[in-house]
Each structure stands twice: as structure tokens, then as C-alpha cells.
């Protein structure tokens, strides 16, 4: 199975509508600087929920969660860990 971080990047490619290739965005680069809009972040959230079969709680529905690939990966990892 593809590693989780790659799956997060794949979701960003499909739904992030970034103004640059996701492969050129480092884990700690700002996704907002790369073109992620507030509306696109909603789509990214929903797509990540589908991809990982999780649900983002209110506490993670924050701008800071979607700040970077690393931030998204950590959020997903915490949800998967709590589901285990």
C-alpha cells in the first residue's frame, strides 16, 4: 500500500487546486502560499476523510491543520492512531 504521506499528496493533487506541482512542495512549505484556498481546503478535508476512512473532528478543522503537507499528515496519523 502507498505510504500515507504519498496518499495525502495525491489528495492534494486531485483536490488542492495548487498553483504548483505538489511534488515541488516540501513537507513544511505553506500550502496557502502554494495556492490552497479556503474553499479548496474543505475539499481536501473531505477527500482525506474518504481516502483514510476517518472523520475530522472540530478541533482539527482549523487553518493550521491545512498549513502544510506535514500538518495534514500529522492530523491523519493522529486520527488513524485514535481509531486503532
Amino acid at each position: 500500500m502507498t505510504d500515507p504521506k504519498s496518499r495525502v499528496r495525491d489528495v492534494l493533487t486531485r483536490h488542492g487546486r495548487l498553483n504548483t506541482d505538489v511534488t515541488s512542495v516540501a513537507d513544511d512549505d505553506s500550502l496557502y502560499a502554494a495556492g490552497l484556498t479556503s474553499h479548496a481546503s474543505v475539499n481536501v478535508m473531505l477527500a482525506l476523510e474518504d481516502e483514510f476512512d476517518v472523520e475530522f473532528p472540530d478541533a482539527l478543522l482549523r487553518r493550521s491543520t491545512f498549513e502544510s503537507v506535514g500538518g495534514l499528515y500529522e492530523a491523519i496519523a493522529s486520527l488513524l492512531k485514535s481509531d486503532a
Partner: protein, 148 residues
């Protein structure tokens, strides 16, 4: 110094003004509805908004919903909330005269109270490919550095 008709800082030194504006591509909202359906609608819009934004055939009125999304983002900017959460806690309602108004709940209501907000106004627009909203909030307290 503010010139012109609105000399808010000179005539009302204790009143602060906060403004937020957002622009949304209507096709993006349409795509979200197509991709995620009801999950998208219910994560973003309050029940009241969903009921009020239907076409004659009962489908979601994408243009009006896009304008309401813009209103939520404009509100977040005006309130200067670093980490906004539930979008459904910012609700666009219609006054008796049909004008849109804002209803703030949860963290947005608390932030509004912290700022000393006493008046909020909202305007929406949509045409062809885009929807936009502007929110203005008047507060009792000026932020540091604001003109008096």
C-alpha cells in the same frame, strides 16, 4: 487622516472598523457538490442556508451558496480569527426586507464579543463565474495602532 464623508476616526474616536472580503469561483462550489454531495453541503452550510438556497426544482442554488461561502470567509477575515473552525457557525440569514444578515455562533460570537462589536453589515454579489461578499464590523474598542 480620513477625508471625505466618513470621518469615523475623527468624529467617533472610540469606534473601530473591521472589514473582510472574499471571492469564490462558483464552479468550485458546483464541483464540490458534485464530488462530495451532502457531506460538503452539511459541513459548510447551516440548515437554514441550505433550505433557503434551492432552485425551483429543489436543487442547491450554487450561485447563492457560493456567495454564502464567501460571506463566511469574509467574516473570518473581519474577525481576524487565526484558526477558524465550524463554518456552519457563521450563518447568513435574510431580514424581513430580504437583506442578508449574519448570525454568529460559537467561537465567532465569542470573538465578536471580545472585539466589542456592536454593528455588523454584509453584502453579497454573484455574476457569471464568481461570487463575493464583504463584511464590515463596527467595534467599541480600537486595536493597537488604529487611528483615533
Amino acid at each position: 487622516m480620513i477625508t471625505g464623508a466618513l470621518r469615523l476616526s475623527a468624529d467617533h474616536p472610540d469606534v473601530g472598523v473591521r472589514i473582510g472580503m472574499d471571492l469564490v469561483e462558483i464552479s468550485e462550489v458546483a464541483r464540490s457538490i458534485s464530488d462530495f454531495g451532502d457531506r460538503y453541503l452539511r459541513r459548510v452550510f447551516a440548515e437554514h442556508e441550505l433550505l433557503g438556497c434551492r432552485t425551483h426544482s429543489g436543487d442547491p442554488d450554487v450561485e447563492r451558496l457560493a456567495a454564502r461561502f464567501a460571506a463566511k470567509e469574509a467574516t473570518i477575515k473581519a474577525l481576524d480569527i487565526a484558526d477558524a473552525t465550524e463554518l456552519t457557525h457563521i450563518v447568513v440569514v435574510n431580514a424581513a426586507n430580504g437583506r442578508p444578515e449574519l448570525q454568529l455562533l460559537g467561537v465567532y460570537a465569542r470573538r465578536s464579543h471580545e472585539l466589542g462589536a456592536f454593528a455588523v453589515d454584509l453584502t453579497l454579489t454573484h455574476e457569471r463565474n464568481y461570487a463575493a461578499a464583504t463584511v464590515i464590523i463596527l467595534t467599541n474598542n480600537c486595536r493597537p495602532g488604529e487611528h483615533r
